[in-house]
């Protein structure tokens, strides 16, 4: 990849005027790291904000309970609705204030907790509560303009959808959810540049990261099945198959962008690698999910996405150990065989493609 050190001013001057408003009359801002702007914060600062808001929300919720303010489902529902509404208004009125933003985050979490708790108490039906969570999170996703909270909403909606499938004994439909999440994640990152320059830019990060994390979450179910959580879905090869389809689509898209025919050396090597990964990914779809996110991360120069994918890939590989349907010896043959062929592919790739592109390794 080209890493030409170039100054921002020089680069902007190289862009055609129609694409470069700075070339017109709009001067550049003094800095891009606005101390009052949450969008410029790195992920770990946002994580600090999120964790602190959760802790604060727990304390505030406990206070409301201990103070006797929530002694019935009516009081929970009313107080929850009021707190959620206040938080939304507060966040919209003070979009740049760190303190009010932090307060609003804690209040909106406490408000939703009360709303869900109140609904569950009143309705006394877990499935209806899950539907309520989905509806509530869709509303809060649209109305509460915070990237981190929106990402949490995506995760909450996925969790509630899983619960509904479980309650209706439609566990095998989870593979459809896997497909939707993977397609959604690919679509968002594929359209990243379009989203960034549109009025929908606020949805890019929460949807992009949220869908990827939700996909990983679903892929945690097969190993969890063997341990502490019995989800009943057994045909995880279907998830692996649909993820392979998404991975192939992504590979074709990337080859198309690079103007590489599918039958070019790079295309054939990429397809060979995808086909090989299907062997260990049978019953461990997380491996394919991690590879999809890894590709998306590299495509969009997104270190966080690549880091997440790497961490989950290592995790899914280690859970393969606990997959019970085949013996450890056969697992070892599959893994060693896959690894060996991948290394062989790499060796051949180096010989063929390396000669076209010069030295591949620094």
């Amino acid at each position: 990849m080209s890493t030409t050190p170039m100054q921002l001013g020089d680069l902007l001057a190289q862009l055609p005027p129609r694409t470069n408003q700075q070339a017109g009359e709009q001067p550049l801002p003094p800095t891009l790291t606005n101390s009052l702007d949450a969008d410029t914060s790195p992920w770990y600062v946002k994580a600090l904000v999120g964790i602190a808001a959760w802790i604060a929300a727990l304390f505030l919720g406990t206070f409301l309970g201990a103070a006797g303010l929530i002694d019935s489902y009516e009081s929970m529902l009313i107080l929850g609705a009021v707190l959620t509404a206040i938080a939304i208004v507060l966040r919209r009125l003070t979009p740049r204030s760190i303190f009010w933003g932090q307060l609003a985050f804690a209040v909106v979490l406490a408000g939703q907790g009360l709303l869900v708790g109140g609904f569950a108490w009143w309705n006394d039906n877990a499935t209806n509560t899950a539907f309520f969570v989905m509806a509530l999170e869709v509303v809060v996703f649209l109305l509460y303009p915070d990237a981190l909270h929106r990402m949490l909403s995506v995760l909450a909606i996925t969790g509630a959808a899983l619960f509904v499938l479980y309650e209706y004994e439609l566990q095998e439909w989870v593979h459809g959810l896997t497909f939707l999440l993977a397609v959604g994640a690919v679509a968002i990152w594929q359209q990243e540049l379009r989203l960034l320059t549109s009025r929908w830019q606020g949805f890019r990060a929460p949807l992009g990261y949220g869908l990827a994390l939700a996909l990983f979450g679903i892929c945690l179910l097969p190993p969890a099945n063997d341990f502490f959580f019995f989800f009943w879905a057994t045909q995880w090869w279907i998830s692996a198959a649909v993820l392979a389809v998404v991975l192939l689509y992504l590979a074709f898209t990337l080859l198309h962008e690079l103007a590489q025919p599918i039958l070019s050396p790079m295309g054939l090597w990429a397809l060979g690698a995808v086909a090989l990964l299907l062997i260990p990914a049978y019953q461990t779809p997380g491996i394919l999910a991690a590879v999809i996110v890894l590709l998306l991360g590299y495509w969009r120069n997104n270190v966080l996405l690549m880091g997440l994918a790497t961490a989950f890939l290592l995790f899914f590989l280690s859970t393969y150990y606990y997959y019970l349907d085949i013996t450890l010896l056969n697992k070892s043959y599959i893994l060693m065989g896959t690894g060996g062929v991948l290394l062989l592919l790499r060796f051949l790739f180096h010989q063929v493609v390396g000669q076209q592109h010069g030295d591949l390794e620094a």
């Binding site: 170039m6 100054q7 408003q21 700075q22 410029t40 802790i55 450890l328 893994l335």
Partner: protein, 333 residues
């Protein structure tokens, strides 16, 4: 010295931000990203595929070999079990020698060889039922690969050594001298604090130490271990013991000194917002614990509200300071 934004390096992150602020349209952003490498070109993808095949291949193969050893295949004679692993190690060392340690292939081969040393020690334990504590396995493993790590020019392999040393020490305390009457967290903190200093010095000295993931992970673990005696002191957990090591009394002091060192080092010497964020978060944990405990003795109900509110204020302050620092670094770049 203040730098104009236009004089700063054109990075993909800055271009994305300019697009978000409306300075670039989609075509401009895409073109800018291609010029700065924010969208990989054909050669970039070829290199990525090359690295991915290598790393994934090595990862799968090594996992398979570990599974093979774990299977403890009784039909396989003893010498074959040792032979498979030893042959693999020798082959990997030959590949390392052939490819060289300046290339990723050589580094990965040496890393896999280092991991297989652990598998070899595990087989040794299985075969001869040595009955030794697990910490000796990890300690010997670390000792045996230390020389390779020194010459590896690879931060991942240094990370393996670091993980092994931590495991050795944790298992030593758990298996040999368990209990709060021994300086477990302090020694683990010391190990990680020293490791952090070593990583920082190496990062300054060697160009191959390019990433900061190991530095950050080590600092995170160091914070975790020093928060343990600090919080135990706040919760009066050590008061139940008659004989405690003196070092426990100095847990909060060690934490404060580490905090100061982190703030100084990563705000001036080696600017790193991640480290400062961790330090801020640790302060929030300690202060919230102090506030909550103190108030709970006075009024239970009010303590929940005030503690929750204090978390909001602390996080707000922390984020304000962190963002201002980041802004100052960018302007003074």
């Amino acid at each position: 010295m203040t730098t104009e934004l236009s004089q700063l390096p054109a990075t993909p992150g800055r271009l994305r931000r300019l697009a978000q602020l409306g300075y670039l349209d989609r075509q401009g952003l895409e073109q800018g990203l291609r010029l700065t490498g924010g969208i990989p070109n054909r050669q970039g993808w070829a290199r990525f595929l090359d690295y991915s095949l290598l790393v994934l291949g090595a990862l799968f193969f090594t996992s398979g070999l570990f599974f093979f050893v774990a299977y403890n295949w009784e039909e396989l004679p003893r010498f074959a079990r040792f032979g498979v692993l030893e042959a693999a190690i020798v082959l990997l060392l030959l590949i390392t020698h052939w490819v060289g340690l300046n290339r990723l292939g050589g580094k990965i081969a040496l890393t896999v060889a280092s991991l297989l040393v652990g598998a070899l020690l595990a087989v040794f334990g299985q075969e001869y039922q040595t009955g030794a504590d697990a910490y000796t396995l990890f300690g010997n493993w670390a000792l045996l690969i230390a020389g390779w790590v020194l010459i590896s020019k690879f931060d991942l392999l240094w990370g393996v050594l670091w993980a092994l040393l931590n495991l050795t020490l944790v298992l030593f305390w758990n298996q040999v001298l368990p209990g709060d009457q021994y300086p477990q967290p302090e020694t683990l903190f010391a190990l990680n604090a020293v490791a952090l200093i070593v990583w920082e010095v190496m990062g300054r000295r060697f160009t191959w130490w390019q990433h900061r993931w190991l530095n950050r992970l080590t600092a995170l673990v160091a914070f975790g271990f020093i928060l343990w005696p600090t919080l135990a002191t706040i919760f009066y957990l050590y008061d139940d013991y008659y004989e405690l090591p003196m070092i426990h009394r100095y847990g909060p002091l060690l934490y404060a000194l580490f905090l100061l060192a982190v703030f100084f080092a990563y705000s001036r010497w080696q600017p790193d917002l991640f480290m400062l964020t961790m330090a801020m978060f640790s302060i929030i944990i300690v202060l919230t614990t102090l506030i909550g405990l103190s108030l709970a003795e006075v009024d239970d109900v009010a303590s929940y509200f005030i503690t929750g509110f204090s978390v909001i204020v602390q996080a707000g302050l922390a984020v304000t300071i962190l963002r201002r620092l980041a802004q100052r670094w960018e302007v003074n770049a």
